[in-house]
Point group: none
């Protein structure tokens, strides 16, 4: 079961954090079509946000066609995001893990790594 966490104080709206974490879980295959999302009450209990905030996030996911709320039953995953085979994903993950270890050894912090990934993905070139 996916578990949500909310970090207050970072400026990022709580409901957005929930939406992004759900999307991430879908991306990585932690959530697959048919899976049940935690109930609003469970999310409230584990993350400390207001029920309405959770509802808003779930509504947003439903609007995006990713989940489906079934009255009295809960909220369920409707569509998948990404379709990479688990084995391929695992392989990529291992390779990335190696690289991350190298980067950390070189002195990069997590924030540096995120920044570098962003740059490489957008293909910006500030190598001069």
């Amino acid at each position: 079961m996916v578990e949500f966490r909310v970090d207050r104080g970072g400026g990022l709206p709580a409901y957005l954090q929930l939406v992004q974490q759900a999307r991430e879980a879908l991306r990585l295959g932690w959530l697959r079509p048919g899976d049940k999302l935690p109930t609003v009450r469970e999310v409230v209990a584990t993350s400390g946000v207001n029920p309405n905030t959770v509802l808003k996030a779930y509504r947003e996911l439903e609007f995006a066609g990713l989940v489906e709320a079934r009255q009295g039953a809960g909220t369920f995953v409707k569509a998948a995001l990404g379709s990479v085979e688990p084995e391929v994903m695992a392989e990529l993950r291992e390779q990335l893990g190696d690289w991350v270890r190298t980067a950390r050894t070189a002195g990069l912090e997590d924030e540096d790594i995120h920044a570098l990934v962003g740059v490489v993905l957008t293909g910006e070139n500030n190598n001069g």
Copy 2:
């Protein structure tokens, strides 16, 4: 000179995007102590946000001790973030570029990649 871009509509507050981009530039060494940040008016011109939004971002950076605003002169970088040698950074970047190419070939989209990086960094293990 660093150039800021603001993507409205993503829910992420404009001033936060500016703060993060500045931090990223510091992280990657694009901005070094003593460097001048674009003036408020320049950012307004290139990104389309309101001057006060830029001021708020700059103030946040100042609070964090990263930059220093000098009345009538501009805003300048005060402290560095991270101190990895450019050559090392370039090497890491190349390796990461290779991995990204592999990942994309396997069908991962940018969002998948970001999610995977996040997971690997936090060391979460949902393989089981």
Copy 3:
């Protein structure tokens, strides 16, 4: 409940006056951890400044780690400043009151007294 007042026309920015009054209240124990600050709207009503000015002051206090803004709930004192016992404080206050009376009898105005306190505190010696 602490009540803020803003004196326009003294050149001192309104938001700074609010910050200083809050700090003063914390210093003197009028505000203690957990206490609720007046809402933005209340301050607006009692002091006549703009809501954004109050927000700026509250944000500054939050940056300083003194208060905590809880969305939809209000702004609350997080940390104490100084920790002198109320009785000790009262005793000191009484002694100071005596001295002030003497000083005023001698012809000193409030501004003189403030100046003299500043000098004594910084230990400057221009008796020369």
Copy 4:
């Protein structure tokens, strides 16, 4: 000779700091009618502000009737502020010094002391 100091970064306008320091010097008798204020150049050299800023402060003092600018000669004190005898002032200062020592021993910091003085002067009563 009075020496001005300017503390940037406190939010308080530089020219106001100069004005207040001049007033304080007049209050405490460090500057007496006929005395010469430091030249603009000297202030610039010792405080690091812009000449125009000093000029603005001196203009303000002149407007208040406290000083007088004599072309080519400098700026001179015209009027006194406060008229307490030096011996009385010294006596008060000594008494205040005793009280300050007591307060500091009790754990009060300078900021607490300033706050307390402000409260006693305005006669506010929050003793409950």
